[in-house]
């Protein structure tokens, strides 16, 4: 007798020629094109944010180039009533579930219309509707046990809501991974653990993150099913997540899905991956671009032509540019937001600190912004 075994042979659906030999993605032509459109928007968002950061108009961004199929494939398996506990590299999940672009841009600029009131660094999104896309925090892995708790709560009310939490290869070394997966296993909580193995944790290669033969194999330690999926294949990711979601809704408990993809950009707009990423490795993955892969599939289905693709890409760029323009014009957060939302009610000591700050500004003028740059 041996421990539960993880399936480490990556699941693939879309062949290099775009064929899927009979696989039914379970999506209408419109939905398939919407998946493609979301991926285009994610990429356009990346391009725009890089320009904005380079020109100093936003401080920081996180590239999603290369992981679009993972984000959209996973999102396509969820309902809006489900909850997402994301990491900072899950832009496409929120977008595909219906969060308006401009709301994300408000966050990128940290302006007064940002849901987080400009309190967080950019890409640390928080959304309550149309979907619970839970406030992202920087510490790696903390969202994992939280997702398990939220799933426990949903089930305790008899809902069939499932919770998807996403993290990277580096995230598997965090405390939250260990406690979260262990509690989920014991509680049979309706959670999908989406491990996005994108090859790197900043400059630490996935191969040095653990001696485990795969990240999916870590499921064995918690008595969960674990699978590996080709993350550049939108339909494969979708298929694996759909299966995990169905298991969770049916009371079958959690699943660990390891998605094999690649971070084609740097860790962030402040990172220079050429310091550590082998050029040939990057080239190998560029040849496996998830968008090109999906275009081949759509073309084979008669749902895509280069011309249509170009038109959609231009449209996506326009949408993103438009959202950026709106967000850049928006007001800055009000000074009061320094003291609100620390507690449900502003306590006496924070009211006093607020009065002091306003009085100080009146007597000695406003504070001036410094020039510090984010290194990563």
């Amino acid at each position: 007798m041996t421990g539960k075994e993880a399936i480490e042979e990556p699941l693939t659906v879309i062949a290099p020629d775009g064929g899927v030999n009979g696989h039914d993605p379970g999506l209408s032509p419109e939905e398939l094109r919407r998946c493609y459109r979301t991926m285009l928007t994610v990429r356009a968002f990346d391009e725009t944010c890089l320009k904005l950061q380079r020109s100093g108009r936003i401080g920081f961004s996180i590239p999603n180039e290369g992981v679009e199929a993972t984000q959209v494939g996973a999102a396509s398996a969820l309902r809006r009533t489900d909850w997402v506990f994301p990491s900072y590299r899950d832009f496409g999940i929120a977008l595909h579930l219906g969060v308006p672009l401009v709301e994300m841009m408000h966050n990128m600029f940290g302006n007064g219309l940002d849901n987080a009131r400009g309190r967080q660094m950019s890409v640390h999104f928080t959304f309550l509707d149309p979907v619970h896309f839970v406030s992202i925090s920087s510490p790696i892995g903390t969202q994992i046990p939280q997702a398990v708790g939220a799933a426990f709560a949903a089930r305790s009310r008899g809902e069939d809501t499932v919770v998807l939490t996403s993290f990277g290869d580096g995230g598997t070394s965090s405390l939250g991974f260990h406690s979260g997966l262990n509690f989920a296993g014991v509680w049979k909580a309706p959670v999908i653990f989406l491990c996005q193995n994108n090859g790197w944790a900043i400059s630490c290669p996935a191969s040095e993150q653990t001696a485990s033969t795969s990240y999916a194999a870590k499921a064995v330690a918690y008595g969960l099913p674990g699978v590996v999926v080709d993350g550049n294949d939108l339909l494969a990711v979708r298929a694996a997540v759909v299966e995990a979601v169905e298991r969770a809704r049916a009371g079958g408990g959690p699943t660990l899905v390891e998605v094999r993809t690649y971070r084609m950009g740097g860790h962030s707009t402040s990172d220079d991956p050429r310091r550590y990423v082998p050029a040939e490795e990057l080239a190998r993955w560029r040849a496996r671009d998830p968008l090109a892969r999906f275009e081949k599939f759509l073309a084979a289905q008669g749902l895509w032509t280069p011309g249509e693709g170009e038109a959609m890409r231009a449209e996506a760029r326009r949408d993103v540019a438009q959202a950026a323009r709106l967000a850049e014009r928006a007001v800055s957060p009000a000074l009061e937001t320094l003291f609100t939302d620390v507690y449900a009610e502003v306590p006496a000591h924070l009211r006093a600190q607020g009065r002091y700050l306003f009085d100080l500004a009146a007597r000695r003028g406003d504070a001036v912004a410094g020039g510090g740059e984010f290194p990563l």
């Binding site: 309190r119 939280q146 709560a153 405390l175 509690f183 507690y343 006496a348």
Partner: protein, 324 residues
Amino acid sequence: MTNLTLLQAVTDGLRTAMRADPSVLVFGEDVGRKGGVFLATEGLQAEFGPERCFDTPLSEDGIVGTAIGMAMNGLRPVAEIQFQDFIFPAFDQLVSEAAKLRYRSGGQYSAPLVIRTPYGGGIRGGLYHSQSGEAYFCHTPGLKVVVPSTPHDAKGLLLAAIRDPDPVVFLEPKALYRTVKGEVPAGDYTVPLSTLREVRAGGDVTVFCYGAMVPVCAAAAETAATAGTECRVIDLRTLLPLDEEGVVEAAKRTGRVVIVHEAPRFGGLAGEISAIIAENAIEYLEAPIKRVTGFDTPFPNTLEHHYLPDERRVLDAIELVAGY
């Protein structure tokens, strides 16, 4: 009214909260079958079932992390950390997550949870079953920190904490669990957070204290009174958010202040209290602001009674400031 120990009052508070609100649940290590190592949760699993009172795997990070997710999604988790000394594996979830969730989400998400945990010395528990870590939590905006010292407050403050919209660290003075008894209303009531309690009236010296140091200070005050020094003893009860105006006002009344806690002195809460007074009532002070605290060392075992502030040490400080 029934006469209960502080421990029984905690159990009564939990039972009352669980009866009043089905979204309240209790979990942690050994709180189910066993009823907790101090038996604070005894009988709850029997009455409310394993869905609402259960044991968890041995991970404080998991306990607090899942509690946050539950609280985000409509439940009112009351998690027990077996000893406050063992809360540190959950420190990241408490400090980085529970404390900051409401702020960073612009109020979209919040974590109305309670972490109950026994703290302090007096049971010969050595380095890891005796610590008083309140200062760590008090320096963490977004958390509330509550410490009862009587059965009445233990139940009333616990009920207030469970119904509070923000995360509360509820520190239970284990040394008082079975050593203090008192009248406790049978029904449902709350003691509002962020309010001080006058333990004893007196016009010569103000003594600030909380938790297990309250009876020690009260005893020292009685002894001081026999020598003609009348102390006003204040139980802080809620350390964060603290009633700072109340503290300043109490300091001004006597101009002579002693602050007492078990935790090490350096960086302890007494320093904050002292600084609040030195910032807002300096011209009223007629003596040094004296602190009586644990020493700046790990918590000992065989010699713990030399480490813990006792009546002797508090009295010494009272006489010093009174005679200054």
